[in-house]
Symmetry: C2
Subunit: 246 residues, 2 copies
């Protein structure tokens, strides 16, 4: 529990490589995580090669983490391996649909997070790249992902070369609902978000971005509606292309 | 790493309750997990009340796990709290779309799995109920989930009252791809799935279901195409109803 309690996302890594046996041991252990009907609907693409990192990097807007990490892992929803097995065994797979994509997405994320927890327990640092679903077609091309395989998230991993402050979290009573969902009043929002808004690093963030409130930094700059809509449309397009919306 | 290595899904629980301080401590620690832009796009609904469990149970086909677990947790994708904050802060939220649903889904699953890892480390047993996305509208009604909140997965948790064998996993070389996706040949499928097919418990499964192959148990009985298609259509309907496909 301690390593999770003290964790922080790491975006700068030492030059040291991750020993192959350690990487494989962590991956193997993470595959013990729960999976839908024990189907293991995921694949992990391991990127170590410099040229391959250069190919992947633009899909992630050349973030620091992908530039300096010794290892980049792309966790994919994968119904292909399972479907191929069915075809080899006189069974007709029926997984070219959204529900199957959701099952495989869950499997991929459960394994990804299990990997992260064990990696951190072993002194490694990780960073999730949310950009994977922004530019899935670029990731698909770089990693040669065939139909019924979809990149869900990317994790950079290596030995930490920074020790950033832990970032804030909302009070737990704002996240946990007893028995039924308790909707948020204006007073609740005030109570739950005031600490976050009071932090010097967040106030600096507002000033740097020339905004009036911290929320505006999110809605106007970091996650604006227009971008979300373009990405959403593209996601459906690529889901169809990869065979999950037949 | 040891508790993950030795884990098994637990579906039968002792009558002992989980002390509230322990449950809250585990949840609080799990909220340290990575989250998209530190937005924490999730809510956790805690079900302890017997009547509430009875209400939830049919959505999960009255599985043993939900009948005997002292605590049931429904992890939801939640863009509502964040959007309400935006509205209170002169910011216009733009999160009624599929990309935002995917971000919140990832956040919910990353936290759910972190919870499971810590719970198991503390001697508790867990079971994921994949049925949450089968009958989302029943879960939404029981837990009174408003728009921009969507139930992603349900975890039952309690002290184990069984010690099942660990289930098999595919060889790691069938999951890991070096640099690019290596597609599966017939020979690969043979190599990777033969161990699973040789296990007495899986052979028994084939006979009990009067099938010719193990794969047919999945395609014809457990996860048939027809069901997947009905569930997919319903998922889009409920996603729209909850405001994520505006």
């Amino acid at each position: 529990m301690e390593s999770i309690k003290n964790r922080r996302t790491i975006r700068r890594y030492k030059l040291d490589e991750i020993p192959n046996y350690l990487l494989k041991k962590i991956l193997k252990t993470s595959f013990k995580a729960s999976t839908t009907g024990n189907m293991q609907l995921y694949s992990v693409i391991v990127t170590v090669d410099k040229d391959m990192k250069s190919k992947l990097s633009p899909a992630h807007y050349n973030q620091t983490a992908i530039q300096t990490a010794p290892v980049v892992l792309t966790f994919c929803a994968d119904f292909r391996r399972f479907s191929k097995w069915c075809e080899e065994r006189k069974a007709v797979p029926g997984y070219k649909n959204f529900q199957s994509f959701m099952n495989a997405t869950m499997d991929a994320l459960i394994v990804a997070q299990t990997f992260c927890t064990i990696a951190e327990e072993n002194g490694l640092g990780i960073c999730y790249l949310g950009t994977t679903t922004y530019n899935p077609q670029m990731v698909i091309e770089a990693l040669k992902l065939p139909s019924l395989v979809f990149p869900i998230t990317t994790i950079t991993v290596g030995y930490p070369n920074e020790h950033p402050n832990q970032v804030d979290r909302l009070p737990i009573e704002s996240i946990i609902h007893e028995e039924t969902y308790k909707d948020y009043t204006s007073a609740d929002i005030e109570k739950y978000f005031s600490y976050k808004e009071s932090l010097p690093e967040n106030q600096k963030f507002v000033i740097e971005n020339k905004k009036e409130t911290l929320a505006q930094v999110f809605t106007d700059i970091r996650y604006p509606q227009k971008d979300n809509e373009v990405i959403s449309e593209n996601l459906f397009k690529v889901l169809r292309q990869q065979g999950f919306l037949d």
